[in-house]
Amino acid sequence: MRLSYSRQVPLFLLPFALIPLVDQNTYHLDVLTSVGIYVLLAMGLNVAVGLTGLLNLGYAAFFGIGAYAYALANLHWGWPFWMGLPLAGLVSMLFGFLIGMPSIRVRGDYLAITTLGFGEITRIAFNNLDAWTGGPNGLLGIARPVFFGYKFSVNPTPYFYLVLVLIALTAFLLFRLCDSKIGRALVAIREDELAASCMGVPALHVKLVAFGISSFIAGIAGAVFASKQTIVTPDSFDFVLSVLLLAMVVLGGMGNIWGAALGALALGVLPELLRGFATYRMLIFGGLMILMMIFRPQGLLGKKEAASGTS
């Protein structure tokens, strides 16, 4: 029997909610919180890459735009975290639309390179627009969230729960999306764009929606990241991160919501478990991407249909 997603979300995520009760090691919780941010990002990237077949190689830029949006709103206008969070998502989505609108027309592999170009331009802009972004030194002293009088601090536990709640919410909404008309349109476009548009799916419009949702999630993750680090610097949002996130989606299973989360969990936790692994990390991830493409292009949890992708 297949569990309905409204049961799956609490079932899979509740065990994680118990971790801080059992394990009070701050370092462990800190790592898990960072991995949680990866999970959010992988779920978001999955909407574009996995569900719709739009290969985005500049996803880290949208994460960065969200982080800088919250940081700037907080530092200049004193916006609190809970107002900055949706703002970060919206600003990132706006950039997603701006970049998506012209580039979504070009063919699959060209779109990948276009997003890569935009990603690099964004990072260089963060680096060189010193007056706004603080240049290579970044922005410091970003406020942490305050939740009904409870002030977040260096202690990672409240961040852990914040990220967990966001993951649950995102997973739930993404499941809703997949079951909707738009969700089916996305998959139809991934499988065969020409056939889908012949059947009356407004391909450009729907692809743009996917791109927007994907960048919205990245923006939300960016705001959480900025509030947790209290500092943002351009080098946190480089091409390596974009590829790392792609590796997570590819490993877990393209088009599968839990797959993306699993991929992020696996690739996020592994380097911490194996200390000597750190130097070989990217070497192994690169090799993993090749092997997955050859032997299991649909990923660990992906369905067979997800394997075909777009041309």
Binding site: V106, A112, G117, E120, L246, I294, S308
Partner: protein, 305 residues
Amino acid sequence: MSPDLQLFFQQLLNGLTIGMVYALIALGYTMVYGVLQLINFAHGEVFMVGGYLALTAVALTVSMGLGLPAWVLVLFVFLFAMAGASLLGAGIERLAYRPLRGSPRLTALISAIGMSFVLQNAVMLLYGTKEQVMPDILPHWQADLAGVTVSLVQVLIFVSSVLLMVLLELFVKKTRTGKAMRATAENPEAASLMGISVHGVIRSTFVLGSALAAMGGTLFAMNYGSVNFHDGYLAGIKAFTAAVFGGIGSIPGAMLGGILLGVFEGFCAGYISSEWKDVFAFGLLVTLLLFRPSGILGENVPEKV
């Protein structure tokens, strides 16, 4: 010559020099795209490995204590780097792309990105994270042409790049393998029905492209006096820009695109801002892909059903 003109010609010369290197790398992108419709993302890393191979070749001759004359040494370094990179290119094709023949484009592209990270990190682990100094293997010589300095390395870059491009053009136009390549690029299925081994053609395309990229890497290392495992990524993206600029799939296009991109970048760096230099290249790339993906010399092919 007035200082303004001097600056102009110096920037033009520097742009042409780097443009020649871009052109050498771009040829590999364009040839592979021609036969496979694959953006060989790992190609920039082959360029970078070429630089490291050149470094290794110099270190080898030094450790063997051979007091070779400069021109023999240079020739040895070129051949060593090109031979090593050819093997690497054939290996990459066999391991990462051959098993994916017939899969969707994005699958192969993801595999290519994986390969690029493998190569980059393998070189980092072998040679360390610090940039390595490429010893001078050419005698110090430079000419002063009315205030514009031309170094011996620059002369070498021009002569060898032009020579290689002419040889490549002859190879593709005159030899059997070249003919098979053109046939495969035109229509792989028909080519294989005519008895052409498509796998063999693809392998030779990778071998040729990698040798040219390694030559670019060697010249680049000699010009800047150092190699770094990071270099391949940026140079690769720029060479890809050059290939798209000229019209991907077209060999003369890649040469023209490389040279134009080098000059464009040289002038942007010289007259506008060197901090934003890379943004100009990326901006050009994005603009081209969005508005004229067929480039200057490419033909516009509509998507087939």
